[in-house]
């Protein structure tokens, strides 16, 4: 049945226009829509009503895992599996184990941040309908786009198009699946 296009795309020429457009589209109650810009625009998250990102949790869990890994690893190696007496000191000391554990905290935390970001964004992906669109190539150059998916409950072929044109978009087109 899928003759329906994937989405409707509207091009805007400057950040102020796209910010106004995003505010309006969110206000109209659309759900499956997004804004595409060559760089993050200040205030866009609020205009789109996006909640604070959850990347921090991934990084935090990574960091805690890293620290615990470091401490347990060193304790196990130098105390349990093959105890080595050095200078008559206790088998395990949290102080000398701290620097490697600290580094592992940062290492795992950094992986948590990057992989968490990719996971939340559902990246990497090899295919996206927008990336086939010729006009959309300017999204990484100097144009700004509002894209509303056709499966949005509020979507209507004529009314949505009219709304986007009223917002000042000079180029509105459909994106094929």
């Amino acid at each position: 049945m899928n003759d329906r296009p994937y989405a409707i795309l509207a091009e805007f020429e400057n950040p102020a226009a796209i910010l106004r457009a995003a505010d309006k589209v969110r206000g109209e109650g659309f759900r499956n829509w997004d804004v595409f810009t060559p760089f993050p625009i200040h205030g866009m998250d609020r205009a789109m009503g996006i909640q604070n990102s959850k990347v921090g949790w991934f990084s935090f869990i990574g960091g805690v895992t890293g620290y615990a890994t470091g401490m347990t690893m060193i304790w196990f190696m130098n105390t349990v599996d093959y105890p080595i007496v050095i200078g008559g000191k206790p088998m395990f000391s949290p102080f000398s184990a701290f620097p490697p554990s600290y580094e592992l905290t940062i290492l795992f935390g950094a992986f948590g941040a990057l992989l968490g970001m990719l996971f939340l964004n559902r990246l990497p992906r090899l295919h996206h309908p927008l990336l086939k669109n010729k006009r959309f190539k300017l999204a990484s150059h100097d144009r700004f786009y509002v894209v509303i998916e056709t499966n949005d409950p509020k979507y209507s072929e004529t009314a949505t198009r009219k709304m986007l044109e009223a917002l000042g978009s000079k180029h509105v087109e459909f994106v094929e699946e």
Binding site: M73, D81, H127
Partner: protein, 496 residues
């Protein structure tokens, strides 16, 4: 009451007028000539497109040759043994450790620019952070070679990692050398992650501009399907902030741990509590020297003067001046403590083994000239005197002067490591064990060879990847500000 209401009404009705500041107080824009965001894409991505320039080919040929020399020296070392180096008793740490500390120090400016300046909201970092981070990664690669080859039996290098050796013994974690393994490998990995994450949107730019199928697929794969969705940007910006927050304590810890390799020992000249902050300041100082050495000619050759403006160069000179002065203070404090601490060995080392020159201090105090007095005074002149020239605006804005001084900075920092490593070792507690260290041709070629490695990677970086963070520079222009007239706003907005 009525009066107050009247007054309030009056203030409300009178329109608030804020006068523009006088022109001389206006900051120079970060991108000159009001260039727009499309121009930025074309200019920066253009560097990595098209065929390479003649200077690039010549530099690349020289670099690859030097890199080959580096690997041949390693091969010779492995097949013959560490006797091919100038190491002796008592100087058992020589060029390898000097070069390791020097190269890893250079990396620190990249992380400082990308992480600490990001947290401090220094927008000028956007023009230089990508190249500086690339410099970090390649410098750490050069650094990483040396500890590996200096262990002598290179095939046992895996003993450094937490893997039990053939007798099932694990590494010994009380040793700062083990901490160093973790610090340096974490530093390298996190620098690569940070660099790559910053690259993702710019690789998407390259993908969207690509004309050939190979470029389209290559950049497309590494761009991971980035579309520039604002829902993605939101997570991306948070992750970038967290990585900056994690890299800041990381960069401070790396050179601190490198310094602990020395200061945990009992040797006069190494056993000093000032070492960690002193090493970090020196690292940032030498790193900025290297960033200037690279970017001052590059902005000219690649015609990027409108993006890496004179203001950027000036600001980097100021950071160099600041960190150079901290290093100078540390030298003074180290010397003072050698006297004030009352340790006769330390006092002896600083005066008789380092500072006593044959012209002034030696004859004045009636002391024999120190064996490495020339190294000590090269270090003082290059690291304490030279950066003070950056107080002058004329020097900071003269590109030739900046270039020459930045090279002197790096020479000075190399000698600092030489002074720390060699002059502390060459006079032992027992005078019968005293010795003199001089490098062999293998030492010298090995060191020069790492420049080949560094520049080979750096030149490849210039060819294939945008050398300036396109998305980030776009974000700091007035055209990107939705509250600025150039960004489409009807009123208001002055560019910060």
């Amino acid at each position: 009451m009525a009066d107050a209401a009247q007054a309030l009404k009056m203030t409300q009705s009178a329109p608030l007028v804020v006068h523009a500041p006088p022109a001389e107080l206006e900051r120079e824009p970060l991108v000159a000539n009001g260039r727009g965001i499309g121009w930025l894409s074309d200019t920066i991505a253009g560097v990595a497109e098209g065929s390479p320039a003649a200077w690039w080919k010549i530099c690349f040929a020289i670099s690859v040759t030097m890199m080959t020399v580096c690997f041949l020296c390693i091969l010779y070392l492995m097949s013959t043994g560490v006797g091919v180096w100038g190491l002796n008793h008592p100087v058992m740490w020589g060029y390898a450790i000097v070069n390791f500390v020097w190269w890893i120090g250079i990396g620190h400016a990249g992380t400082l620019i990308s992480a600490i300046l990001f947290l401090l909201r220094q927008k000028w970092r956007t023009s230089i952070n990508r190249a500086a981070e690339a410099m970090t990664i390649f410098a750490v690669m050069c650094a990483g070679i040396f500890p590996l080859i200096h262990i002598g039996r290179i095939w046992l290098g895996w003993w450094l990692f937490p893997i039990p050796n053939s007798y099932s013994i694990w590494p010994q974690f009380r040793s700062p050398l083990m901490w160093d393994v973790f610090a340096v490998s974490t530093y390298f990995t996190v620098s690569v992650l940070f660099w790559y994450m910053g690259l993702i949107p710019d690789l998407a730019v390259m993908r969207d501009r690509a004309r050939t199928k190979i470029r389209k697929i290559g950049y497309g794969l590494f761009a991971l399907g980035w579309t520039g969705s604002n829902r993605h940007w939101s997570n991306y910006e948070k992750a970038y902030l967290i990585l900056a927050g994690l890299s800041t304590p990381l960069v401070l810890s790396v050179h601190s741990i490198v310094s602990l390799d020395f200061s945990v020992s009992q040797l006069p000249g190494w056993h000093t509590t000032i070492f960690p902050p002193y090493f970090v300041a020196g690292a940032v100082y030498s790193g900025f020297g290297m960033v200037l050495t690279l970017l001052v000619p590059l902005r000219r050759l690649l015609k990027l003067e409108e993006i890496i403006t004179v203001r950027h160069i000036e600001l980097m000179c100021k950071v160099t001046l600041l960190t150079g002065s901290i290093v100078g203070y540390a030298y003074g404090m180290e010397f003072f403590i050698a006297w004030y601490g009352g340790n006769p060995y330390e006092k002896y080392l600083f005066l008789h083994s380092r500072a006593a020159d044959p012209f002034i201090i030696g004859p004045l105090l009636g002391i024999e000239p120190a064996p490495y007095w020339w190294a000590y005074w090269t270090m003082i002149i290059c690291n304490v005197v030279v950066p003070q020239l950056f107080w002058l605006k004329k020097v900071r804005t003269c590109m030739i002067a900046v270039f020459v001084l930045s090279i002197l900075v790096n020479i000075g920092m190399w000698f600092e490591r030489f002074v720390i490593v060699v002059t502390s070792l060459n006079r032992e507690f027992l005078p019968a064990n005293w010795g003199y260290y001089s490098p062999t041709w293998v030492d010298i070629l090995q060191f020069l060879g790492t420049f080949g490695l560094f520049f080979t990677f750096f030149l490849l970086f210039l060819r294939y990847v945008p050398l300036i963070a396109i998305a980030e520079v776009k974000g700091v222009t007035p055209q990107a500000d939705p509250h600025h007239p150039l960004g489409g706003a009807k009123t208001g907005g002055r560019h910060p």
